[in-house]
């Protein structure tokens, strides 16, 4: 083996090392994950006997009724469009086993498609969070101000309750709101039943 050959081999090995390191790392999920040091997130809000969640600071909180738990809206000027987060729930007839989450994702997508007739770019993902598997559905829809809104829906089954965290922001400002939505979703923690 001459020197030239050895040099080529070393170069190839040198090229592979950083590639493998990058593949081995856990890439942070842009749409589901807590921020390490969130500055714009308030302290966790707890719904007794149900769950706790961390919501953006200085946003307008509106308690819900019927199927809506709450809504929280970004405070903006009237001419500017802001972001919105709503938490809904649905009582299930039976708990959704983790292996059924893919089927549940398909069903959630069907429902979204059914009511969002003007929506586009629908995607669905099954993610695994601290609470277990969850479904992330995203799509765009025409906003009231004329621009596109981006919608991210987190469907999180917890026992016989299916929580749907719906986050809406202007598509143009998505980069600003994506970390917020990811943190809020990841902060959703169901309350464990006492004694369990």
């Amino acid at each position: 083996m001459n020197c030239k050959t050895v040099r080529v081999c070393l170069l190839v090995l040198a090229g592979l090392i950083p590639f493998e390191s990058a593949g081995a790392q856990d890439t942070p999920d842009a749409w589901y994950g807590r921020q390490a040091k969130p500055k714009n997130i308030d302290r966790p809000r707890v719904i007794p006997g149900a769950f706790s969640i961390e919501l953006p600071k200085d946003w307008q909180f509106v308690p819900g009724h019927a199927g809506t738990v709450f809504s929280i809206v970004e405070k903006t000027r009237q001419s500017q469009g802001g972001a919105l987060i709503t938490l809904e729930y649905l009582r299930l007839q039976a708990p959704l086993d983790p292996e059924l989450i893919a089927g549940a994702g398909e069903r959630e997508m069907k429902e979204v498609l059914a009511w969002e007739l003007s929506g586009t770019q629908f995607t669905s993902q099954v993610k695994t969070g601290a609470i277990g598997p969850l479904i992330v559905i995203q799509y765009n829809r025409p906003g009231l101000s004329g621009g596109e809104d981006h919608v991210v829906q987190y469907s999180m089954p917890v026992g016989t309750t299916l929580y749907r965290l719906v986050c809406v922001a202007p598509a143009a400002a998505l980069d600003k709101y994506r970390p917020v939505f990811a943190h809020v979703a990841a902060s959703f923690t169901p309350v464990k039943p006492s004694g369990s």
Binding site: L92, Q93, A94, L96, E99, G103, A104
Partner: protein
């Protein structure tokens, strides 16, 4: 003397010399004058002739058919000159005048009673049955004292008398030569006789005379037709059964010998055995038995083959077969016909597109018929092509069903295609479908559970029902689907 002449038809039946003795006439052999009559028109003792008052009187003896004179039945009639009396088929009349002297009846019809002097009366007779009667007056003058023919003064008188005698005799001969005078006919009397069953007499006395007088007499013709109609066949007399005496052994052996000669040996043997049963040591019987036994041999086989023609081979293209050794034509024809019927049946199956059955029949036929049999080869090819087409169609149908998710239908069609054409491989498609069934079944099971969780029970039921069709019972989801369905039905 008096002579009674008796006629039957035109023929003279008898002539009888009459005496003063009463003479009985009838059918009975005991009668003095027997009048045979099988038709019984004459009674056994029909009448009698009495000599009364110097004349002969015919008296009816209470006969059945009576005495008829001139068309009238009479109880008695004096046998005067020209009086013809009918007794059945017979007619009687006197030859001489009724006043002739009676002669001693002899009791026989042919005996000639010695002629007496006609001018003298009958001699005093007493036959023990009647009173002594005076002799009648002689009718012929007493014999003359005839002189010598020549030289006698009255020779001419003798000659004259002779001439008279000759004339009288000639007249008498003439009279006899003449047929008896016909009685006057009376058709009414004839009708009565016919009705009384006495046709023969009616014909003789009345009908025939009437027809001679007038051949066109309608009444006479009618009566003749009645009489000439064929009488009903008389019933044969019933003879009492006569039991023949049992044949002797010799007779039986004679018969047996004749039977052997006639080749009827079994029957001969029966007779011989009968004899030997009673006479076991009968040497003749033993010998005949040996002959009969030797004669009884099984009949030679019928020369059937010689009488019936042997089979003539027909070309296979016309449905002919190869004849069997010594096969008769009619048997060969039967075999040919039967084979043709099978072939036609197979063709019919082919036309009905029952290719598999048709091909099976043709294949079987091909083993049994010669090469070139009708269109067997072409038909077999057609059947095979039909099978291949069916197989292809079945394969296409299987694929379509598989695409529709009708896996059971698809599997059946795949298997059918393979059965029809073993060259079609269906293992992979069947495995693929089994996998797909499993996959879809599991997916539907998941969907069913999701729908059940969401509370969409209708969709859940539909999914679970599909699951139970798609998945085997060994699959865990099968039990889930079954339990969920049971739960939802409650």
């Amino acid at each position: 003397m008096a002579k009674l002449l008796i006629f039957r038809g035109d023929a003279m039946h008898a002539e009888v010399e009459l005496t003063d003795r009463t003479v009985r006439l009838g059918r009975s052999p005991q009668d003095d004058i027997v009048l045979p009559d099988p038709s019984k028109g004459v009674s056994r003792t029909h009448a009698e002739i009495r000599f009364e008052g110097g004349r002969y009187v015919l008296v009816d003896h209470q006969s059945q058919n009576g005495i008829w004179v001139a068309g009238s039945r009479v109880s008695s009639v004096a046998l005067e000159r020209d009086v013809v009396a009918s007794i059945g088929p017979y007619r009687v009349r006197m030859e001489a005048p009724a006043a002739a002297e009676p002669a001693r009846a002899t009791g026989t019809q042919t005996e000639v009673i010695p002629r007496l002097d006609p001018l003298a009366g009958p001699p005093l007779t007493n036959d023990g049955r009647g009173p002594v009667k005076p002799a009648p007056r002689p009718r012929i003058p007493a014999p003359l004292n005839v002189p010598r023919w020549y030289g006698q003064p009255r020779w001419w008188a003798v000659m004259g008398a002779a001439a008279v005698l000759i004339a009288v005799s000639g007249f008498a001969v003439y009279r006899f030569a003449q047929p008896p005078p016909q009685p006057a006919f009376d058709l009414e009397a004839a009708r009565a006789m016919v009705l009384g069953g006495n046709c023969q007499q009616a014909m003789i006395e009345h009908i025939e005379p009437a027809l001679r007088a007038n051949p066109n007499d309608a009444t006479a013709l009618d009566l003749r037709r009645t009489c000439t109609a064929p009488p009903p066949a008389p019933e044969p007399p019933v003879e009492p059964p006569v039991t023949p005496p049992p044949p002797t052994a010799t007779q039986q052996l004679d018969e047996a010998e004749a039977l052997i000669a006639a080749n009827d040996c079994p029957k001969a043997l029966e007779k011989i055995n009968e004899v030997l049963a009673t006479e076991p040591d009968n040497e003749r019987g033993k010998g005949l038995a040996a002959q009969a036994n030797a004669c009884i041999t099984p009949p030679p086989p019928a020369p059937r083959a010689a009488a019936e023609p042997l089979a003539v081979k027909r070309p296979p293209s016309e449905g002919g077969l190869d004849p069997l050794p010594k096969e008769l034509q009619k048997d060969y024809q039967k075999r040919v016909d039967a084979m043709r019927a099978r072939y036609d049946n197979a063709v019919s199956l082919l036309q009905k597109r029952a290719y598999v059955q048709a091909a099976r029949e043709f294949e079987q036929l091909r083993k049994e018929v010669p090469t070139g049999y009708v269109e067997l080869a072409q038909r077999l090819d057609a059947a095979r092509n039909g099978i291949r087409d069916d197989a292809r169609r079945s394969l296409d149908a299987a694929r379509a069903a598989e695409e529709r998710g009708e896996f059971d239908t698809a599997a059946d069609a795949y298997r059918r295609a393979h059965e029809l054409d073993s060259g079609i491989q269906v293992d992979l498609p069947l495995q693929r479908m089994a996998d797909r069934k499993l996959q879809i079944g599991r997916r539907r099971c998941s969907e069913g559970q999701v729908e059940f969780s969401y509370g969409n029970n209708a969709a859940a039921v539909a999914a679970f029902q599909e699951v139970m069709k798609l998945l085997p019972q060994s699959e865990p989801c099968y039990a889930i689907a079954r339990d969920r369905l049971a739960q939802l039905r409650k």
